[in-house]
Each structure stands twice: as structure tokens, then as C-alpha cells.
């Protein structure tokens, strides 16, 4: 098949990873960076070609009867254990994977380009580019996977490469513990994912997405009504798989790794939060959506988790002082929007618009969140601090960054005509269609989003003018501003893409028409949020202080992220370590090790007892030998007789 060149988007990054990883230290930093960026550029071009051919071409049978087909452009058998248990490696092109190709390659290319300026002069520059390539490779492999097992492999690769990148500054203890935390938390979630996969494929006899999703009703009923703890096993399987997704997508209560992941270099945060890692969970649910769609319980769980996380993260984001942390919590909140949107997207409600909305939001969010993070990187680069108190009044010093950040904020707040408006609007439509409760809930969260984003914006670019000393902040170099400009433009126009034509839950065409009652409300709410932020943070004043004092308890709790980390600390240290791990460790040390030590000690003392025999005099040895030989001969003869 002609589209099989898509596989190149996997081969180039993995080759670059190996190349830069092995011979990178021999190259100069500049060469390594430029090589990595160029390779990523080529990958981007191929990814665009594949995606555009898929969406607009007609000669490959992409569209049959108005339904976009899923094309398996590459299909290799990797391991064949039995007739049914076959693990394949392949490349699957369908609307969501083609869309993800565009998202990932664009953001990754921008991050590569941006890093040329941002990481200039850092130690381990070549290593950084090697890891970036690995990260991109694993994420692309994840979205192109044809079966759930292949997805799981790349899923873990994403985990590994995020670990490597978050812990890039491995001399800083904070970075090391952050990377460990990210890895352990997502690993823990992946345990659920793995069990879910095993249950699912045990009953359905297949790993393949296509055979799982073409007839979901049949796939679900293969379990034959088997139940476990009052729920059908399929619900369990799907919920456990969602647990894996929740871990990667930082859904409450598995979100704790994400704010700490800010210890990595800022472009990496952009990559993790916009295009890769965190959307993997959303993508997973979207990929298996036909299965979820027939299982109302699993969908309800997803909705509740998503909606709660959206609110929780938005509340925390309102009071954080570290700009990257605000962005991190805003990411959690926005990802939760997507998850909720999938949760409320029952096909019978409003044409399953939630699915389309979720993917649309994923697309636009990737663009403006990458933009916001890259802006934050430029700002941090300029003032050498993450804290908002060190900023303020930066609009005079960094005009490009200012405009770009403003675009990002407007987009995420949902002001037309910026990208976020359209996708968020569709999510709200889907939420209202499901139940007014979720509609109102998500509208409130949308308002909070507008508030905290503009709080951030004003605190950075307006507020007051702290004394920068003799080091005046200045605009970042060209390699850093170009991605900002590009992503800013994309964030303005991305909303006008007729997304419903490309990605819908049943892959048929869906025409987006704005529901102005919902859209109007959401605009008003966003404007209220912005207005509130303007009143409070436009100029230096003491309103925020007074408010914080008034609600001191609430403010402190939110600032400490409602003590989730402390709770985890308590559970892991006081309960798991003290009550479970300690006894196990005691058993291991005393009983298992004790037995082994005993054996070793007995052998040791026995050999001490007989070591006198090694006298060093050769003739004594010969005596022993002769006596032994004679004895053996005698025994043999006796036995023979």
C-alpha cells in the first residue's frame, strides 16, 4: 500500500535517538542540535504528507460511503505464541491517529527548534536531543499502534523517556525525585492498564483494535455475563484500562506526578503537556471508545473522574505562585475537560459530539498549551526565576512573548475567534446534552480557567515593575521566538478547522454548528473570569492579599494542592512502608536471608575446620592421594567380588 511510507515517522526518530545517543558526544553541540532538528523536520513533513493523504486523498479507499476507513498500512507478525495469541507490530491510520500525527510532529518540531536557543550551552545537549527523539518516537508509535499490546509497549517507552527528560538535570535532587515520582506513579497506573489488557484479551481473544472496535457489542458480550464484585468483568477491564490512561493523563488521584514534572527543562514540559505523555490517556480512551460507548458504567466513572479533576486542578491553579505550576495545573484541568468530554459522549446523545469535541480540544490545546509553555520558557530564560514575584511589567521588555502569551491565554479562556473557544464550546454542548449538572459544572470550570490564566498573564506582564538590577530582561533569540509566532498563529486559526468533517466517533461526517446559547454563556463566563482577574491583578494592589487573608484556610489548602502530596506521603510512608513493607522486609532479612546465611556459615566453619590439611608440603598430598587410590581400588575390588 502506498501509505506505508508512514512507517518512516517511526524510523527516523529512533535512528536519531540511537545516532545521537551513541556518537552524539563526538559531535559538537551545534551539529547535534541541528541534526536532531532537521531529522524532526523531515519526520514532520512525512507525518503531514501521510495525514493529509489520509484526510484528503481518495485513491486508497480512505472514505467508503461517507465513513472514513481504518487503514492498516503495515502489519508484521512479531511473536506468535499460539494461533490466537499473536502479537503484531503495525501502523494504523485512522482519523484520530492521523490527527495525532500532525499534533505530535508539529509540537515536537517546534520544541526541537526552540530548544536550540533555550538549551544553548547546557551540559548534555546531545543527550537532550537524543531523548527528545526517543520521546517523539515512542509517542508516534503509541498513536500508530494497531493493537493494544503494541500500544502498551510504546506506552511504557513514553514513560521511560519522560523519566529521562524530567530527570535531565540529574545533579539536582528535586529533578531526580520528580522523575522518580513520575515514573513510579505512572507505573503504578500501568499495572491497572496491564491487568485490564489481560482481562480484555482473555475474553475477546484478540489484541487488535480493529477487531475489538468494529463490533463492540459482541466483544463486550464475550465475557458472557461474568461478574466480579458486582460489576461485569468487562466494566472492570475497561475501568482498569482507564486507570492506566488516568495515570498518564494525570487524572485525580494519580495527578501528583505532573506538577513535579516541571523540574525538567521547560521545552520538555511543553512537549509532555501539550503533545505527548498526558494526552496518551485521552487517546487511549478515544481509541477504545466504541467499547466504552456500550458500557455505561465505565463511561460514568470516566465522567466523574474527569469532571472532578477539572475542578480540583482549576482551583489549585488559582493560587499557585510558580508560573510553571499554574500551567501544569491548567494542563491537568484541560486534559480533564477532554476526558469528561469523552465520558459524556454517549453516541445516542447529540450524535456523540463529545468524542469529536474531545479530539478537537486535544488538537487546539496541544497548540496553545505548547505556546504557553514555550512562552513561559522564554520568560524564565529572561528573568531566571519561576516565581511570579520576580516578574511583572515584562510587556515592555518582551513584546513578542507578550503577544504570544496573550493569544495563548485568550485561546485557553475560550474567547472567539481563538482556537480554544470552538473546541471548549463543543465540549460544553456535549456536557449539557448529557446532563445539565455536568454542563453547569464544566462552565464554572471554564470560568475559573479564564480567571487563573489571566491572573498569570497580568502577574507576569503587568502588575508592578520589580527591580531587575543591571540585568534587564530582553527578547529571546530567533530560534525561540519563531516557534512562539508560529504556534500563536496556529492558535488563532485552528478553531476554524471543520474538525467534525475529519474526526468523529463513528468516523462519519459531522457538521459543527455553534449552539449560541451555550457559546454565549461560555463567552460571558470567560469574560467574567477575565474581568475579575483584571480587577484583581492589572495593577499592583492589595485585593488578592486581603482575599487570601479572608479565606486563609481555603487559600492555604489550595496552595498546598489540598494536601494531596502529603496524603500520598502519609499513605506510602506510614501505612504501606510501616505496616506492609517493614514486616515483609523483616521476613526477607530474617527468614530467607537467614536460611541462606546459615548455609554459608556452616560451609565456612566446616572449611576452617579442615584447612589444616592444606599444609603446603607436596609429599603429604601424595600420601593422601595414594591412600585414597588404594582405598578406592580396594572398595572396587570388594564390590566386584
Amino acid at each position: 500500500m502506498e501509505l506505508s511510507y508512514t512507517v518512516a515517522v517511526l524510523i527516523i526518530p529512533v535512528f536519531m535517538f540511537l545516532f545521537l545517543g551513541i556518537v552524539g558526544v563526538k559531535l559538537s553541540k551545534k551539529t547535534a542540535g541541528i541534526l536532531g532538528t532537521v531529522a524532526m523536520g523531515v519526520t514532520t513533513i512525512i507525518a503531514y504528507a501521510a495525514a493529509l493523504t489520509y484526510f484528503f486523498g481518495t485513491d486508497q479507499g480512505q472514505v467508503i460511503d461517507g465513513v472514513r476507513q481504518q487503514l492498516t498500512v503495515l502489519d508484521l507478525t512479531w511473536l506468535e505464541f499460539t494461533k490466537n495469541l499473536v502479537i503484531k507490530i503495525g501502523v494504523l491510520l485512522d482519523p484520530i491517529s492521523a490527527m495525532m500525527l500532525i499534533v505530535i510532529s508539529t509540537v515536537s518540531f517546534m520544541v526541537h527548534l526552540y530548544s536550540l536557543g533555550y538549551m544553548d550551552g547546557e551540559r548534555g545537549f546531545q543527550r537532550y536531543y537524543a531523548f527528545l527523539s526517543l520521546f517523539t518516537f515512542s509517542m508516534l508509535g503509541l498513536v500508530l499502534a494497531t493493537n493494544i499490546f503494541q500500544m502498551y509497549i510504546f506506552w511504557e517507552l513514553v514513560g521511560v523517556s519522560s523519566y529521562l527528560l524530567i530527570g535531565f538535570y540529574y545533579t539536582l535532587p528535586a529533578a531526580v525525585s520528580a522523575s522518580k515520582k513520575a515514573f513510579i506513579v505512572t507505573r503504578f497506573a500501568d499495572l491497572g492498564f496491564l491487568i485490564g489488557i489481560l482481562i480484555l484479551s482473555f475474553y475477546t481473544d484478540t489484541f487488535d483494535f480493529m477487531s475489538l472496535t468494529t463490533d463492540p457489542q459482541a466483544a463486550i458480550s464475550t465475557a458472557g455475563g461474568a461478574t466480579f464484585l458486582g460489576c461485569s468483568v468487562m466494566t472492570w477491564a475497561l475501568t482498569l484500562i482507564f486507570m492506566g490512561g488516568a495515570g498518564k493523563s494525570a487524572m485525580f488521584p494519580l495527578h501528583i506526578w505532573l506538577p513535579d514534572a516541571m523540574e525538567g527543562p521547560t521545552p520538555v514540559s511543553a512537549l509532555i503537556h501539550a503533545a505527548t505523555m498526558v494526552v496518551a490517556g485521552v487517546y487511549l480512551v478515544a481509541r477504545l471508545f466504541p467499547l466504552y460507548a456500550v458500557d455505561a458504567t465505565a463511561l460514568d466513572i470516566i465522567t466523574v473522574v474527569g469532571a472532578f479533576t477539572a475542578f480540583y486542578a482549576a482551583a489549585v491553579a488559582c493560587v499557585q505562585s510558580d508560573i510553571k505550576r499554574v500551567l501544569a495545573f491548567s494542563t491537568i484541568s484541560q486534559i480533564a475537560f477532554m476526558i469528561t468530554s469523552l465520558g459524556v459522549a454517549s453516541p445516542e446523545l447529540h450524535h456523540g459530539v463529545g468524542y469529536m469535541a474531545s479530539m478537537f480540544h486535544l488538537f487546539t490545546h496541544a497548540m496553545f498549551k505548547a505556546l504557553l509553555f514555550l512562552c513561559a520558557g522564554a520568560i524564565i530564560h529572561a528573568v531566571h526565576s519561576n516565581e511570579m514575584s520576580a516578574m511583572g511589567g515584562l510587556r515592555k521588555y518582551m513584546p513578542i512573548c507578550h503577544i504570544a502569551f496573550l493569544i495563548g491565554c485568550l485561546a485557553i479562556a475560550g474567547i472567539p475567534p481563538f482556537a480554544g473557544f470552538f473546541s471548549k464550546d463543543e465540549i460544553l454542548v456535549a456536557a449539557y446534552a448529557n446532563s445539565p449538572l455536568w454542563g453547569v459544572w464544566m462552565s464554572v470550570v471554564a470560568g475559573m480557567t479564564a480567571f487563573y490564566m489571566f491572573r498569570l498573564y497580568y502577574k507576569i506582564f503587568w502588575w508592578n515593575n520589580p527591580d531587575y538590577g543591571h540585568h534587564t530582561p530582553h527578547e529571546a533569540p530567533m530560534t525561540m521566538t519563531f516557534p512562539l509566532i508560529f504556534l500563536g498563529l496556529v492558535s488563532i486559526v485552528a478553531g476554524f478547522i471543520p474538525f467534525g468533517e475529519f474526526v468523529t466517533w463513528n468516523r462519519e461526517e459531522y457538521v459543527i454548528h455553534l449552539d449560541w446559547t451555550v457559546a454565549g454563556t461560555s463567552i460571558v463566563i470567560a469574560l467574567i473570569g477575565i474581568a475579575l482577574a483584571t480587577v484583581m491583578y492589572r495593577k499592583e494592589n492589595n485585593i488578592p492579599e486581603r482575599l487570601a487573608d479572608r479565606f486563609r484556610g481555603l487559600w492555604t489548602a489550595a496552595y498546598h494542592r489540598f494536601y494531596m502530596d502529603e496524603l500520598y506521603q502519609f499513605i506510602t510512608h506510614k501505612i504501606i512502608f510501616a505496616r506492609i513493607s517493614k514486616p515483609i522486609a523483616w521476613f526477607d532479612r530474617r527468614i530467607i536471608d537467614g536460611t541462606m546465611d546459615l548455609l554459608a556459615n556452616v560451609t565456612n566453619s566446616a572449611s576452617f575446620a579442615v584447612r589444616r590439611m592444606q599444609s603446603g608440603s607436596v609429599q603429604t598430598y601424595v600420601w593422601f592421594y595414594i591412600v585414597g587410590a588404594v582405598a578406592v581400588a580396594a572398595i572396587t575390588i570388594i564390590c566386584l567380588i
Binding site: 589444616r612 592444606q614 599444609s615 603446603g616 608440603s617 607436596v618 609429599q619 601424595v622 600420601w623 595414594i626
Partner: protein
């Protein structure tokens, strides 16, 4: 003859003498091979070849042993086996 070799090997103190006892044992075995082959299996030649082979090996082994003895002498200024008991626990 083999018994003589064993006796010499155990009782002699000089390493050269021990070496000579060793040769005695080897030659005893060679003769045994040849003789038993001649009387028990007259039609076959394996025993003969085996003794020839053993003679060749013995030559090589002696050369090696002499070299070791010389080196030991250089190191310890001594070839008395009773005093060379450094290789113990």
C-alpha cells in the same frame, strides 16, 4: 619398578630426585603397556602406540618440570621439597 618410583617420590627431599622417581613410574607404566599388549592381545598394537605416546609426553613433561625446578631454585635458592611449604592455607 613402579613401587620404587612411588617410594622415591614420597621419601626423597631433592626435587631432582623426585623428578627421577616420577620418570621411573612413567617408564614402569610404559613397560607394563608394552608387555601386557604383547601377551594379552598379540594381534593389536594399541598398547605399543600408547607407550610411544607416553614416552613423548614424558619428554615434554620432564622439560617443563626441569624448568619449574630451576625457577624454584632461583626464587628460593633451595630445592629441598620439605622446606618449600609456602603454598599453604
Amino acid at each position: 619398578m613402579f613401587g620404587c618410583g612411588v617410594y622415591g617420590f614420597i621419601t626423597r627431599r631433592n626435587m631432582i630426585a623426585i623428578l627421577i622417581s616420577l620418570e621411573l613410574m612413567l617408564n614402569a607404566v610404559d613397560i607394563n603397556f608394552a608387555v601386557f599388549n604383547r601377551f594379552l592381545f598379540p594381534g593389536q598394537m594399541e598398547g605399543m602406540f600408547f607407550s610411544l605416546f607416553a614416552i613423548g609426553l614424558a619428554a615434554a613433561e620432564t622439560a617443563l618440570a626441569i624448568a619449574i625446578v630451576i625457577n624454584v631454585y632461583r626464587a628460593a635458592r633451595n630445592v629441598d621439597i620439605r622446606q618449600l611449604t609456602k603454598m599453604k592455607f
